[in-house]
């Protein structure tokens, strides 16, 4: 029983980080209809940037803030350099560009930071877990989870109550109509990339705390795909629920199924679940169903 709850809490906590990266993914899709396959690399860069600041002696919280700012700048740069010219082109072309972008960014990271695993030194969170009742919760996981929730609330509020949040959703719905009201699509795209980069960057920084930073963090981007699809590609709450679900499923698969199917069932299981789930709900949990009037 203890093992069950341990697995569950770990799942939820890791899921929190997935949710954060999933948020970035959803944001870009929501605003521009582009499935950004370079999300993992954005996470990777976020992790390295935070690490670099931290190694220079900047306090962790401040490093995260710096990562946010660099995320905004890089997000806008990427949008302006690579994607701006593609506005109006078929969406598939844009998606392919993000694939190319992912290789480019991965190469860039290797070029700047090398391929060795690096760790946050001194460790930011103590590795000792704290205990609630019989549950042992690792402090790193706990704070990652809290941060994910806080960012989630900020994003929801942003979309629901701010002028820009609404305009971004409007652009996703009908770009031309939004333009006719003076909402600039270019600005919206740049903003969505900036925010996505922020979310992914923070996710990367948190993950880097847990396992150390190396190029494999980039693969997390792909692992988050089931989370995003599960929640519905353009639903912010969906990203959170999807992220948590995938985190939990993954950990349960690791704990209970690894004995039967040794080697990698933990990584595969979310994808298998996603495939089956989509058979029943093709739009994901809260994805936008196209409204058709008769």
């Amino acid at each position: 029983m203890e093992l069950f709850f341990m697995t569950l809490t770990t799942g939820i906590m890791v899921g929190g980080i997935y949710a954060l990266v999933a948020l970035g993914w959803v944001l870009i899709f929501k605003c521009s209809g582009v499935l950004n396959l370079a999300m993992g690399e954005l996470t990777l860069i976020g992790a390295y940037v935070t690490l670099s600041f931290y190694s220079m002696g900047v306090p962790f919280v401040l490093s995260i803030l710096c990562t946010l700012i660099i995320g905004i700048v890089l997000g806008i740069l990427i949008e302006r350099i690579f994607l701006d010219k593609l506005i109006g082109e078929p969406i598939l072309a844009v998606i392919m560009v993000t694939v190319g972008l992912s290789f480019f960014l991965k190469g860039l990271v290797g070029f700047i930071w090398g391929t060795d695993t690096r760790v946050f030194e001194p460790a930011i969170f103590s590795l000792k877990p704290f205990t609630i009742g019989f549950l042992k919760i690792s402090i790193v996981y706990f704070w990652s989870f809290v941060l994910a929730i806080v960012l989630f609330l900020v994003f929801v509020a942003f979309f629901k109550y701010t002028r820009w949040g609404l305009s971004m959703q409007a652009t996703a719905d009908d770009e031309t109509a939004a333009l006719s009201l003076g909402v600039s699509a270019r600005f919206v795209y740049a903003a969505s990339w900036a925010i996505a980069f922020m979310a992914a960057g923070v996710g990367g920084a948190l993950l880097g705390n847990i396992n150390g930073v190396n190029i494999s963090i980039g693969y997390l981007g792909l692992l988050v795909l089931p989370a995003v699809v599960l929640g519905g590609l353009n639903s912010v709450p969906g990203a959170i629920v999807g992220g948590l679900t995938i985190g939990i499923l993954q950990n349960f698969a690791g704990t209970y199924l690894d004995g039967f199917f040794p080697g990698g069932v933990k990584e595969i299981f979310p994808f298998a679940f996603m495939a089956v789930f989509l058979l029943f709900k093709p739009y994901g949990l809260w994805g936008w169903i196209k409204i058709e009037r008769m």
């Binding site: 959703q169 719905d173 009908d174 031309t176 939004a178 333009l179 006719s180 009201l181 003076g182 009037r293």
Partner: protein
């Protein structure tokens, strides 16, 4: 016409799509400040293109004003972007009731307040609900699911939220029941009178348009072929024949008598 100041004057513009397809071949239109002007014509005459070249949305469709000039309050605007033009106070209500389907009615309106500088969003909403009380009831419903008439009200209300000086309306009557059309046009006329919003109206429903607008232009294949006061246009034989479906005696025309291949439009010479 001379005594009134024009808020918008289009001077002999030529519009090309993809740099080769000539769509407008010399269109000149004037809209007096605080007035309503109708732009009539059959499908494909270039009415929507004219509106898009004013609002700047033409650029999205790889179109360009290649000749002539568009002046709004004395400023040349045909080289400006859609966002800049919207900021100046020209708002186009695109044809086909393009609501933001997944947002609620009120959120749709709030997007319209995007450019609003003076006054709070609340004031804008109050104003819209004052003119469209029906939207107040539907404010928290998802816009994709409200009725066609309410969607039309939403998009007009959304345009109103921007505090426009000139609204370009593209076929607001399309696909709506006669009662609703009546309601919407009454509101439009009220807006014109009370809020002093100038309107350039594109309509297929010629009878309705001539009743609402005191002055009208008739377009055909990218040209303005006729312009006059609505009173005179209503009496014009060609207009009666081609757009109002009336014969010379004012009776409904029988299609059996129509020999339209022989009957030439006078203006085509």
């Amino acid at each position: 016409m001379e005594a009134v100041e024009n808020i918008l004057s289009i001077n002999n513009i030529e519009v090309k799509y993809h740099e080769v397809i000539l769509v407008l071949k010399g269109v000149s239109i004037e809209v007096p400040r605080g007035g309503i002007v109708a732009l009539l014509g059959a499908n494909g005459a270039g009415k929507s293109t004219t509106l898009k070249s004013i609002s700047g949305l033409l650029k999205v469709e790889v179109g360009e004003v290649t000749d002539g000039a568009i002046e709004f309050e004395g400023v040349r605007i045909h080289k400006k972007t859609a966002v800049e033009i919207a900021k100046m106070g020209i708002i186009q209500v695109i044809e086909g009731r393009r609501v933001f389907e997944h947002l609620t009615v009120e959120e749709n309106l709030k997007v319209g307040a995007h450019l609003r500088k003076t006054g709070s969003v609340r004031d804008g909403l109050d104003l819209v609900y004052h003119y469209f009380p029906r939207l107040l009831q539907k404010r928290s419903e998802v816009a994709g699911f409200v009725s066609g008439g309410e969607q039309q009200m939403t998009v007009v209300g959304r345009a109103l939220m921007t505090e426009p000086k000139l609204v370009l309306l593209d076929e607001p009557s399309m696909g709506l029941a006669p009662m609703l059309i009546h309601e919407i046009f009454n509101i439009l006329m009220k807006l014109n009178k009370e809020e002093r919003i100038s309107i350039l109206l594109v309509e297929q429903n010629v009878k309705l348009a001539l009743n609402v607008a005191p002055y009208a232009y008739v377009m055909e294949t990218g040209r303005i072929v006729m312009d006059d006061t609505s009173e005179k246009l209503k009496e014009n034989e060609d207009i009666k024949d081609f757009y109002l479906g009336l014969s010379e005696k004012g009776k409904t025309k029988s299609f059996a008598e129509v020999k339209h291949y022989k009957r030439r439009k006078r203006w085509l010479t």
